[in-house]
Structures are given as C-alpha cells and as structure tokens.
C-alpha cells in the first residue's frame, strides 16, 4: 500500500510500497505538480522500476520548465536501487 500526500506547495510525503499497482495513485498527485518540489521518502519501504518510471516522468516534465524533483530521506535499500539504476545522477538526492 502506498501513501502519498501533498503537504505544501514544495513538499510531498511518500510512504509504504511503491509497486506497479500503485502507479495511478502516485500519478494522481505528481501530475498536479508544476514546479520544483521535494519528496520526503522517510516512510517509503519499497520501490520498483514502475515507481522509478513515475518519478522519472515527473522529473523530465518538470525539467522542461526548469524545475526538478528532490528526493530526501531515502533508506539504504532504496538508495541502492537508485544507485544501481544510475538514477542517482538524474535526481537530487539528499
């Protein structure tokens, strides 16, 4: 189960499991984002390539207008997934 909540104009909280069945839930929130924003991943337990794909698409859309996604508070496992995917070069991770 994924939880995703827009806390403010520049902050989203992401938690639970971001698997392939949760893409629509995430897109409903992320597609409303129009400028740079931070996603707090401190509650995120898991992400698959389907979840990565959703974040990639959001990052690329924001980049067209000079914006960016920042990902914060990734667990060690999830940081590994980004590193092995080479996506630690696409996103700002802090």
């Amino acid at each position: 189960m994924l939880t995703i909540e827009r806390i403010s104009t520049d902050l989203i909280n992401l938690g639970g499991r971001f698997d392939a069945s949760q893409v629509d839930t995430a897109e409903a929130v992320l597609n409303e984002v129009g400028e740079s924003i931070t996603i707090d991943c401190s509650g995120l337990d898991y992400i698959s390539s389907a979840g990565l794909g959703t974040l990639i698409a959001t990052q690329q859309r924001l980049a067209e207008s000079g914006g960016a996604l920042t990902l914060s508070n990734l667990s060690g496992h999830i940081r590994d997934v980004f590193r092995i995917s080479g996506l630690d070069q696409l996103f700002t991770i802090k």
């Binding site: 392939a20 390539s49 389907a50 990639i56 496992h77 997934v81």
Partner: protein
C-alpha cells in the same frame, strides 16, 4: 510455500503480501527480503507485459534451502524469454532520454546472487537464489 497469481499488474500487491507471509516465520534479513520483493515484482510484471500468450496464473514458490533463499517462478505456455540474456541498459544517457525500460531486469540481475532460466515443455522457469550469508 507456493502460490499462484493472475497475470495482472494489480496482482503485485498480493505478491508482496505473499512474501510478507513467507517471512513471518523466517529469520531473513530485511535487505534480503527487499531484494527478493524487487526481483519477484520485476520478473512478474515482465511476464504480464511481454508474455500475454500464456493465460494461466503464474506460480511462485519460495523456500529457504541451507543458506539460500530461493524463488521459483513458472509462466505457463509462453514463448522463451531468458532474462539473463536481456539487453544491457545504457546508464549513460542524457537525463531527457532516460526511460524505465529494462531497468527492472537490470536491477534483478545486479541484485540477485544467481538467476537461472529454463524454457521447458513450453513453460518458462526462472529460479532466483539469494545467499543469506548466515553460515
């Protein structure tokens, strides 16, 4: 422990719950379970997307044998698709050209200790082995 899953993307939630139940009575480190979940989902969703000719449920069997965590996935009545021979993902693309295509198999092959594949009697068998490093 063995269970069957309809070939639907929406089955991934049930797949993760299956791993939860398997792990309840197994002293398996969380990072190993995370790797298992990821590989199962990536292989399963590939079967859903790229082997639609097989209409039967996919079976997944999980076990711990000696010092290894093993997963055996069977996709029935499908063409051969050997994930161990999937094309390499280009990790050096410019940001605007990056796509998630192929990332799932890339992650699986990089994170799982041993991935074996066999196409037998028309069925695809994929066997994953994760060494637990307890001995």
């Amino acid at each position: 422990m063995r269970e069957s899953f309809p070939k639907l993307i929406s089955s991934t939630g049930a797949l993760h719950e299956f791993v939860d139940r398997f792990a309840e009575n197994q002293p398996i480190p969380e990072e190993k379970l995370h790797t298992l979940r990821l590989a199962l989902e990536e292989l399963f969703t590939n079967m859903v997307k790229y082997s639609p000719e097989g209409k039967e449920d996919v079976t997944v069997e999980l076990s711990v044998v000696d010092d290894s965590l093993r997963a055996h996935l069977v996709d029935y009545s499908v063409k051969q698709f050997d994930p161990t021979h999937a094309p390499e993902v280009d990790l050096d693309l410019p940001p605007e050209e990056i796509t998630p295509g192929g990332l799932g198999i890339h992650l699986t092959l990089k994170m799982i200790d041993k991935v074996e594949y066999e196409h037998r009697d028309g069925d695809s068998h994929t066997l994953l082995t994760i060494y637990l490093g307890r001995s």
